[in-house]
């Protein structure tokens, strides 16, 4: 009730007449949301920026740290290394995902539902899992070591393969969406003009998905350049920016240099983000009211070829999971191949034991619950508040910012901001709450966009009608808005839960002895050489996320059947 008092005390920002109590509530809440977002996004980033210009005694030294950084060849080499592995893996994954997406949307291949699900496997696990599997497959004791022709998997090859597997679903989803939104009439026209299939592909299909591809490229590039799980496990001595950041901060507690690497790491991400925004603005809707959905025609050769291709890709994805699952049960790789549950005795190993797993569950649950509440609530305020444009624009800006900030950089900035002794929020440091906040912020943008999209689909008339009938806002919200947006709410909470469960980067700098997490345990156990237990813990994460996804699937299906009949035409 305290905020009631608050709401009446806040001085009016705009003095336009006829503001209903509902408007006041909304405006107050918008201001609260702005303060909250400012505190958890802008201030920490600022403190990191400040840290990068300090020496270890805390004195301002300008750009000296940056000069030191760019003058140390080993650190500088990491930049080119990062660009190389990210560039190579982004282009590779784009190519692979395009073919896969094409098969799913433009052919009459069999088992599409199956291929659709399999492609999502890497989303269920931390990026570490694909790297751990690679160790078992191509490592010195790996089952297929000879396939590498004497090359070592520990290095750029391993990083690239690991990254490609890990970001495959992200690329696929974007490309698939853009392939789906094509006007079938264009193909009818092409056929009528007797265009060859190749020509049709080049002048109709590719231009149609151009922006989707570019968008996917940027997102995949950001993901790969900022991921450090894969490089940590299988990078060997091949340093990349993300592992440098980890080494500077965790390995040497050199926070100033860590801040410098953090800012360097911020660059490609921010550039990719700006470019993506620019491209999206150029994107013109290909669909109009008169569009005809494209329906692929069966073609034996084409369908079978793509079926074979998708089977191969699926085999790799399933194999990745199966390899880790199998290895997690092997007693002592490679000398004692008997199967046992030895590796699941987490309490005897580094990383926090089973407690880490339950902590992860709790953290993911809090992230899902509080994150969804906050994100959906804020999105609602932004979409439905009348007037107050400036404040709403600020929120829009804040919600886009996290997309461009890598998880590790966010976590690092949280150390600087929240662990400062004079920060009144200092008590959050080392708590579960700070990790929840970090996860919510890290995954804010996607969730926010989901919420806004769902809210935009609703006719604004609902609120107007409600208001004119003197139905209080909360009633409209709970009786109309929320039920109609329930699928989106479920999407957001599932997304937040699974990403919080699997993320390493957003929490690696923030966990404390009481709040060890499963994903961090995977990293730490692997770091201590306990690779099989690391695989075992990763399997627990996979299992959990898979269960949550299944639950989400059934809930959504049930909802669509029961409550959302209004949507089906």
């Amino acid at each position: 009730m305290s905020s009631i008092a608050q709401s009446t005390q806040v001085p009016p920002v705009l003095t336009k007449p006829k503001l209903s109590p509902d408007d006041w509530v909304m405006r107050t809440l918008i201001i609260v949301a702005i303060i909250a977002l400012f505190t958890v996004i802008v201030l920490p980033l600022y403190s990191m920026l400040a840290k990068s210009a300090e020496n270890s005694a805390g004195e301002f030294i300008g750009l000296a740290n940056f000069i030191t950084y760019f003058n140390s060849p080993a650190l500088f080499k990491s930049i080119t290394n990062s660009l190389f592995v990210s560039g190579t893996s982004s282009i590779t994954v784009l190519f692979l995902a395009f073919l896969y997406a094409y098969a799913l949307t433009r052919t009459c291949m069999r088992c599409k539902a199956f291929f659709n699900i399999v492609a999502l496997i890497p989303l269920l696990a931390p990026s570490l899992l694909s790297a751990i599997s690679l160790v078992y497959v191509f490592g010195n004791q790996g089952i297929a070591k000879s396939w590498l022709f004497g090359e070592s998997i520990y290095g750029p090859i391993g990083i690239i393969i690991g990254l490609v597997i890990w970001v495959f679903p992200s690329a696929l989803m974007i490309i698939k969406t853009s392939l789906q939104t094509t006007d079938g009439r264009l193909y009818e026209a092409a056929t009528a003009m007797r265009s060859t299939p190749l020509r049709t592909f080049l002048v109709v299909t590719l231009p149609g998905v151009k922006y989707g591809l570019i968008s996917a490229l940027f997102i995949v590039f950001t993901l790969t350049v900022t991921d450090f799980g894969v490089a940590k496990v299988i990078g060997g001595q091949y340093n990349v920016l993300a592992t440098d950041l980890f080494k500077q901060v965790i390995g040497q507690q050199n926070f100033q240099m860590g801040a410098v690497v953090g800012i360097v790491l911020l660059f490609p991400a921010v550039l990719a983000f700006i470019a993506d925004r620019y491209v999206q603005r150029k994107q013109v809707s290909l669909l109009s009211a008169r569009s005809v959905p494209y329906t692929p025609k069966p073609s034996t050769i084409k369908d079978n070829l793509f079926f074979i291709y998708c089977t191969l890709v699926s085999a790799v994805l399933i194999g990745m999971l199966a390899m880790a699952a199998y290895a997690s049960f092997v007693t002592f790789w490679p000398y004692d191949q008997s199967l046992s549950l030895t590796n699941y005795q987490f309490d005897l190993m580094d990383g926090g034991g089973w407690g880490a797993f339950t902590n992860s569950l709790r953290m993911a649950l809090y992230t899902a619950v509080f994150g969804t509440l906050f994100i959906f609530g804020t999105a609602y305020l932004v979409e439905k508040c009348r007037g107050f444009k400036g404040a709403r624009t600020i929120i829009q800006m804040f919600t886009l910012l996290p997309m461009a900030v890598p998880g590790m950089v966010l976590g690092l900035s949280y150390i600087f901001f929240f662990n400062a002794p004079n920060n009144p929020l200092n008590f959050l440091y080392g708590s579960m709450a700070i990790m929840v906040i970090s996860c919510v912020v890290h995954f804010y943008t996607v969730s926010h966009i989901t919420a806004v999209t769902a809210l935009k689909q609703m006719d604004p008339e609902f609120e107007s009608v409600g208001a004119s009938l003197k139905v209080p806002l909360y009633k409209t919200f709970f009786r109309v808005t929320l039920p109609m947006c329930l699928p989106a709410v479920l999407d957001i909470s599932t997304y937040l839960f699974t990403t919080a469960m699997t993320t390493v980067s957003a929490v690696i700098f923030l966990y404390s002895p009481d709040t060890q997490l499963a994903s961090v345990a995977v990293l730490n156990m692997e770091g201590a050489g306990d690779i099989a237990p690391a695989a075992a813990m990763a399997m627990m994460i996979v299992l959990t996320s898979a269960c949550v996804r299944l639950l989400h699937y059934f809930l959504t299906r049930g909802l669509r059947r029961k409550h959302l009949l209004w949507r089906t035409k």
Partner: protein, 348 residues
């Protein structure tokens, strides 16, 4: 009118999310004193250590913060102004010396401290730190994989310079691992600075990669990922007991070692409980517990041999100059980093 504000109540719940989560996060806090203990002990030892301490002092609960030696040290130094740790228990002696030099340790003479060997406690009175046991560098040699690759069994450090081992050696990064640091500091002491760095230059050519943790090289050797790992004797003995096809090699030139030690962090809010932990750490009972993993103990004359622990190791332990190692730690690490940090980097 009141009804209209209900959504705001909902939202206020949401904006006070941190409060709710805090409650959820701190539900464990209860009457017993909780000691935050920073440690670099092996994870599989922690449970035994805390339960045997909590058996004696049921009103004190240990919360471990465990990581590699270098990391725990760096963490302690970084948190100097606002330390989260109450006690350090099971960290390299060199690191405790460093903390003592920084004035971060609260001097305290645990009950029974007089029983410890003189080299296992700080010379000032009351001492700022007390030793527990010593851990000793060794080479983990995988018999099966080495045979496959035709690698001869090395007997000395210098043997490892043979090009035959190229790409078949692995060692911990001294920046993050205490074992890695004691290797480097012992080579500099055994061979002298110039020859020591020359030795490492040669070794670097054969090293496949440097690991973050000190036990990982031995675990990787045990798993056959690499035939030879530079690690420490206790880990090797443990893995052999678990069935790994390893043998422990104690190089003839002598091996570096460091003690594990403990101390109280200055400014702890739980001083009384911290002192109890230090009392416990020098008891015979605690030493017998250390003996499960270490062959050399702080209290002389009570050590029982550890299974598969190389017996010749005690006479090959070098006369380690801890003060020198602690004083030069940062300089050595900077030099090491500039020489070997990026394995892929061409040498200057």
């Amino acid at each position: 009118m009141k009804m209209k504000f209900i959504p705001c109540k909902v939202k206020s719940a949401l904006t006070s999310l941190s409060v709710a989560m805090l409650l959820a996060g701190s539900y464990q806090a209860q009457a017993a004193t909780e000691l935050t203990v920073y440690t670099a002990l092996e994870a599989d030892q922690l449970k035994m250590y805390s339960s045997s301490f909590e058996e004696e002092y049921p009103d004190i609960k240990i919360n471990w913060v465990r990581d590699s030696t270098g990391i725990v040290t760096a963490k302690l130094l970084a948190e100097k102004e606002n330390s989260r740790a109450d006690v350090v228990w099971g960290l390299a002696g060199t690191s405790l010396l460093l903390l003592a030099n920084e004035g971060m340790l609260e001097p305290y003479a645990p009950k029974g401290v007089e029983k410890l060997s003189p080299s296992f406690k700080d010379t000032s009175n009351p001492p700022t730190w007390t030793g527990m046991d010593a851990w000793v560098a060794s080479i983990c040699y995988n018999e099966i994989e080495s045979k496959k690759l035709g690698l001869p069994k090395p007997t000395s450090w210098k043997d490892l310079l043979d090009p035959v081992y190229q790409g078949h050696l692995i060692m911990p990064n001294p920046g993050s691992s205490g074992t890695g640091f004691l290797d480097v500091s012992s080579w500099l002491q055994i061979f002298g600075e110039d020859e020591g760095w020359a030795f490492m230059d040669g070794l670097h050519k054969n090293i496949d990669r440097y690991t973050h943790s000190g036990s990982k090289p031995c675990k990787l050797a045990a798993a056959g990922e690499i035939p030879i790992g530079i690690s420490y004797a206790y880990r090797a003995a443990r893995l052999i007991n678990k069935g790994a096809p390893l043998s422990v090699i104690v190089p003839t030139e002598g091996v570096g070692w460091d003690m594990e030690a403990g101390g109280i962090i200055k400014g702890t809010k739980n001083l009384a409980a911290a002192q109890k932990l230090m009392d416990f750490s020098v008891t015979v009972k605690a030493n017998e517990m250390y003996n499960k993993s270490f062959a050399v103990l702080a209290i002389p004359g009570i050590a029982k041999p550890v299974k598969n622990f190389p017996p010749e190791i005690t006479e090959r332990m070098i006369d380690n100059d801890f003060a020198w190692a602690a004083a030069n730690r940062s300089k050595i690490l900077t030099e090491w980093n500039s020489r070997y940090n990026a394995k892929s980097e061409p040498k200057k």
